[in-house]
């Protein structure tokens, strides 16, 4: 089914791992070359007409065409080719560090997916099928599969959390711009620490999953939704509301993380079905999953308790 293009999203076709479109339009289309020609023609010829003899305007207009328009045309061409070169260079440099195609996969979301995912984060207990669906070896985009991780919700939730923290501090008259930057960088550093610890533990236990770094960033960023909910309840309903919301979002988030990561970590036993090293592995993998899940409430409490005094 074709989704209507929503404001703020580019309506790309729902392909799996949609790459960039082949014929990328220029940053600015070169439509201005025709109109200034007419403008300069209009500007120059009356002025020339006033001081010139009667036979002059014809030759004058053509000479002015040669002077004004080639310069403008050449400048326009040069500027757009410079912009193209700059764009290509930036793309090349960025694609050396991270593949932009993979990043685009994580932002291919739509409103329906966001709604369902938010409902799932707050109330995951009735969801039946947690398997990420594939389509000929590539995972489906978040638009077609609710279980796929995305980076849109974590990014938006992170920014909303920072704004909410500023608002909460302002309500308590403890606001200053430095505190906002400090809050933002603290939250960012905790995400980086968590992702690095996850990567390290997955590497040490040689767990062969297809969890990329972006997947881990996505799963680690989902806790910001819980944090926003907790802070809002704390602001609206006082300290009791804060602890109730903390308990609710912690349980929901722990359930969500365990069910999502169980599919990825615990069931990737393709190579050691020999039974040789299989005894210790599932236990350690279970420890990783449970430790990740148990870390979430701690960090939610740590990052929000100072906002709801």
């Amino acid at each position: 089914t074709m989704d209507l293009p929503h404001h703020g999203y580019r309506a790309t076709k729902p392909r799996a791992r949609a790459g960039p479109p082949a014929g990328d339009p220029l940053l600015f289309d070169d439509t201005s070359s025709s109109t200034p020609a007419m403008n300069t023609q209009g500007y120059y010829t009356p002025g020339y007409n006033m001081g010139a003899p009667a036979g002059g305007p014809q030759g004058g207009a053509q000479v002015n065409n040669l002077f004004a328009d080639p310069m403008a045309n050449a400048a326009m061409m040069y500027g757009s080719s410079l912009a193209n070169q700059g764009k290509d260079m930036v793309n090349k440099e960025i694609s050396r560090f991270m593949s932009v195609n993979k990043l685009k996969y994580f932002f291919a979301v739509d409103t329906k997916y966001v709604m369902k995912k938010l409902m799932l984060l707050m109330f995951p207990y009735t969801h039946q099928d947690w398997e990420v669906r594939y389509h000929r070896d590539t995972p489906l985009t978040p638009r077609q599969d609710v279980n796929a991780p995305d980076l849109y919700i974590p990014t938006m939730a992170f920014i909303t959390y920072i704004l909410l923290a500023g608002m909460a501090l302002g309500i308590q008259k403890r606001f200053s711009p430095e505190v906002l930057g400090l809050c933002a960088s603290t939250a960012l550093v905790w995400v980086i620490i968590e992702v690095l610890v996850m990567l390290l533990s997955l590497y040490l236990l040689t767990v062969h999953t297809d969890l990329s770094t972006f997947d881990l960033i996505a799963y680690s960023g989902y806790k910001y939704v819980g944090m926003i909910f907790t802070v809002l309840c704390g602001l609206l309903f006082g300290s009791d509301g804060y602890f109730v919301a903390l308990a609710w979002s912690s349980c929901a988030l722990m359930f969500f993380i365990v069910r999502s990561l169980k599919m990825k970590i615990l069931s990737s036993l393709s190579s050691d079905s020999m039974g040789a090293g299989a005894s210790a592995k599932p236990r350690l993998r279970l420890y990783i999953t449970v430790a990740t899940a148990a870390f979430q409430p701690i960090i939610i409490y740590w990052l929000t308790s100072h906002l709801v005094r």
Partner: protein
């Protein structure tokens, strides 16, 4: 605990330095973590100890030159700006 990005960079530099300083023959072989004691089982998944030794050795190899540059820059900056 309020973290700034600067403290994150500091932590990263200190941790990488700590791993790169572990000397191969003066220290790691003495406690049984040398290069020859790591690679145990072939074909099967290596254990945790083999992975850790591999990690230490690769950090030492890869990060030696960048660490020299970054440490020198840090020393100069700390001398100039305190």
């Amino acid at each position: 605990m309020a973290f700034t990005l600067y403290s994150l960079i500091q932590t990263a530099i200190l941790c990488t330095n700590a791993v790169a300083v572990l000397h191969e023959e003066r220290f790691l072989s003495k406690i049984g973590w040398g290069v020859d004691q790591g690679i145990g089982g072939f074909g099967d998944d290596p254990g945790i100890k083999a992975q850790i030794l591999n990690l230490i050795r690769s950090v030492r190899t890869v990060m030696r030159v960048p660490l020299i540059i970054v440490n020198s820059a840090c020393i100069v900056l700390l001398l100039l700006f305190g």
